[in-house]
């Protein structure tokens, strides 16, 4: 229902425990995508996620999109980016609309949270995921 959508915007303030877990998931994702970087520069289109990312050690939230290593999209269906920047989709519709450019997605579908990494995008940027994330790689065209 629409009220859930309105509430979902504030989900991070309501579900303290869920936010802690979400933090752990994003930490795993970002460390896997940038295994050698000491500081990962993250840009997000959702201001309410700023605290979450900043609380992850080794993550720096930047306001300028062009200096970011990765763009985390929660709302924007189409985004401009530099060719060396990664894009990560945090919504099913965002993933569907940007299949050709996103490196992966973390989103709700079929009543459960899903995590995927897109094979050809990983190959293009030369990333080999750790063993525990290999099963989340999908060959999506």
């Amino acid at each position: 229902m629409k009220k859930f959508i309105v509430l979902t915007l504030f989900i991070s303030s309501l579900l303290g425990s869920a936010v802690e877990i979400e933090k752990g998931i994003y930490k795993t994702i970002l460390k896997a995508l940038f295994p050698t970087k000491k500081v990962i520069k993250v840009w997000s289109d959702d201001p309410s996620k700023k605290d979450l990312f900043e609380s992850i050690p080794g993550i720096k939230v930047v306001n300028e999109k062009k200096i970011a290593d990765i763009l985390m999209l929660f709302n924007t269906l189409n985004v401009q980016r530099n060719s060396n920047q990664m894009i990560f989709a945090n919504g099913y519709l965002i993933l569907q609309r940007n299949k050709g450019v996103v490196v992966g997605g973390f989103y709700w579908q079929k009543g459960r949270p899903n995590l995927i990494f897109i094979k050809n995008r990983l190959e293009k940027v030369g990333i080999v995921l750790p063993t525990n994330l290999q099963k989340y790689i999908e060959d999506i065209k």
């Binding site: 629409k2 869920a18 877990i21 269906l77 099913y92 519709l93 709700w108 579908q109 009543g111 995590l115």
Partner: protein
């Protein structure tokens, strides 16, 4: 103990797995935990509305629940049974039954209401659950924050959120008695402002057949459910339909010897919600309920002033139009909720009783205003004050208009791992229209236009202990009931002397890990006169377990012995065991045994010299595929 040894054996086997190191890899574990911790019930539940029990999506799925009746089996006070015409009824321990006005069911914010019988609780057993995300049950509630008609037990069903589905599911089930169940749903977001959800279900439930004096007591039913919603920006449009055709079971005959009949009910509603930019919420809805009850009994069915008849047909049509508005204001330490509604409730009644007939129409308007203020004395202490005024205006000059008021005081205090709740509620249950008004023949019931509304006064206290792996609850309620309503064939509907009732509940849950837990609960209810017309106490042991690709649900329900109408019923033990196998992420198979010991709760009925089990011994087979 011989009875339940199978269940206890299962408990031991499953318990041996619980200490085994879980096989989750770190990210799998995080995703699973994120799913559970992000359950929508954590957003929608309101601790200030009374004592709340939650059935999460995970609980409902693991139980392989198909209808609301499957969930109601876990209720303590009130517990469930079925009426002589095969509908769901609620019973408080030791009591004969609970007034149906005492329980209200909501689907999202829509009250499943009625004009003739006042509450939609009668159809609740046939509400199917595949479109439902989670269920909240509130007790000792004043109904103010739900902004609708009054009740002390509120069952809120929340439908699945399209943005969490982005796909659909098909479910097919069948049992060893030839029952079948098919449901399908799909939910999608179209763009940032639009989303939809569609659900359809059809099912045929075959029940055990009994005989009384050579007459078959059948209670098979065929049901269908449709639910759809469409969200656009701050508009929500919802449509729901429940349709049910049922055998008459015992019927209404005084000797419970039905020779034919059927009960057909169709419930349609449309509900529109608009949230304005200033967060004022406006809701409007239309409900149309058509019911046809036909009974044949050669030994006589009592039909008010027509006396005894052999053929009894009663058709009712309810039309309800509602307009509701509400808004929450937050300032400093206060959260002030203000609302109001207008309801027009129209009823058409037609009947044929052998050669005689009946036809009348009536309606009433209900105006309501309410407010609730929650004041945070400190971060750990909240006080709640609720006030509601309901103004009933009847079209019939015979019925006196009524102004009724609800008052509620509450306090919630958190002390470390303990939470204490205390509520004082002065409320009322509106008398069903069918008890207040008929045509001048007083058929099929002897009505009483000067009947007073029942007025419960509730004193409730609860304490909860909660830490990472353990949750314990204790609740006690004292209920004083003024003007209880009863039906006497000679006198018709009457108000009886005031009485009181005391109820106790305790529960304990231990979580072994995120997928394994055990819950135990016990309950007891006592009448003023100490009579026991139903089990005075009972309890459940419930186990949720997972092992590799298997999920297990175990429930043993105990209800004490009781007697009524010179029929004795021994203590009951109802064991349910469900096993699900996840073939893949999207495909699962399940099997579920119900009333495995065939010693489940049996209901005593007037006119019948043996009790009848409310749950048949059955095996269900289940397949679910997500797409």
């Amino acid at each position: 103990m011989k009875v339940g040894s199978g269940f206890l054996g299962m408990v031991l086997v499953l318990s041996s797995w619980l200490n085994a190191e879980n096989n989750y890899q770190n990210i799998d574990y995080l995703l699973e935990k994120y799913k559970l911790e992000s359950d929508l019930s954590k957003i929608t539940k309101s601790e200030s509305n009374g004592f709340v029990d939650i059935f999460t999506r995970d609980d409902i799925e693991r139980m392989q629940a198909k209808t609301l009746f499957d969930i109601l089996k876990l209720f303590t006070i009130p517990f469930i049974s079925r009426t002589n015409i095969n509908s769901t009824m609620f019973i408080k321990p030791s009591q004969k039954s609970m007034p149906m006005m005492g329980v209200r069911i909501f689907i999202n914010d829509h009250d499943i209401s009625a004009s003739v019988y006042q509450s939609g609780a009668l159809i609740c057993g046939s509400i199917t659950l595949d479109n439902i995300d989670h269920i909240e049950v509130y007790r000792s509630s004043a109904s103010v924050e739900f902004g609708n008609e009054t009740s002390s037990v509120i069952i809120k069903l929340y439908t699945k959120e399209p943005s969490r589905e982005e796909g659909g599911k098909i479910r097919i089930s069948g049992d060893d008695k030839g029952s079948s169940y098919l449901s399908v749903y799909q939910g999608k977001t179209i763009d940032k402002d639009r989303e939809y959800f569609f659900y359809a279900n059809t099912n045929k439930i075959n029940r055990e057949e009994y005989y009384n004096k050579g007459y078959p007591l059948k209670s098979d039913s065929s049901n269908s459910n449709i639910y759809a919603n469409y969200d656009y920006n701050r508009w929500t449009f919802e449509y729901g339909r429940f349709q049910s055709e049922s055998d008459p079971f015992l019927g209404l005959g005084t000797q419970a010897t039905p020779s034919g009949g059927d009960i057909d009910t169709t419930y349609n509603y449309l509900h529109i919600t608009k949230i304005l930019e200033n967060d004022l919420r406006i809701q409007s809805s239309v409900d149309i309920i058509d019911s046809s009850q036909y009974f044949q009994d050669k030994n006589g069915i009592y039909a008010g002033n027509y006396g005894f008849v052999q053929n009894y047909l009663l058709n009712t049509t309810d039309k309800i139009v509602s307009l509701i508005f509400d808004k929450t204001f937050k300032y400093n330490k206060n959260s002030l909720y203000i609302g109001g509604f207008y309801k027009h409730k129209h009823a058409e009644v037609e009947g044929n009783f052998d050669t005689k007939s009946l036809s009348f129409k009536t309606h009433y308007n209900l105006y309501s205003i309410y407010l609730e203020d929650k004041y945070n004395f400190s971060p750990t202490m909240m006080g709640i004050v609720s006030l509601k005024g309901d103004y009933y205006r009847y079209s019939s000059s015979e019925i006196e208009d009524k102004n009724k008021y609800i008052f509620r005081l509450g306090a919630i205090k958190n002390i470390n791992k303990f939470q204490i709740k205390a509520f004082f509620t002065k409320t009322y249950y509106a008398a069903p229209l069918i008890s207040l008004y008929s045509d001048d023949k007083n058929v099929p019931y002897k009505t009483n236009s000067s009947l007073k509304f029942s007025q419960p006064t509730l004193h409730s206290f609860g304490i909860r202990y909660k830490e990472k792996k353990n949750i314990a609850n204790f609740r006690i309620s004292y209920i004083k009931l003024t003007y209880p309503i009863a039906y006497d064939p000679a006198l018709g509907f009457i108000n009886k002397d005031k009485t009181f009732y005391v109820q106790y509940e305790a529960s304990y849950t231990h979580k072994f890990d995120i997928k394994n837990r055990i819950t135990l609960d016990v309950y007891h209810g006592r009448r003023k006169d100490m009579m026991e017309y139903s089990p005075p106490y009972g309890g459940h042991i419930v186990l949720h377990n997972s092992y590799k690709k298997f999920d297990f649900f175990n429930m043993l329900e105990y209800r004490a012995s009781y007697s009524d109408y010179n029929v004795n019923v021994d203590a009951s033990y109802d064991w349910t065991l469900g096993v699900r196998y996840h073939y893949s992420k999207d495909l699962l198979f399940g099997i579920k045994g119900e009333n495995i010991l065939n010693k489940g709760y049996r209901q005593i009925y007037k006119g019948l010299n043996f009790p009848i089990s409310i749950n048949d011994r059955k095996i269900w087979f289940n397949m679910e595929y997500q797409f």
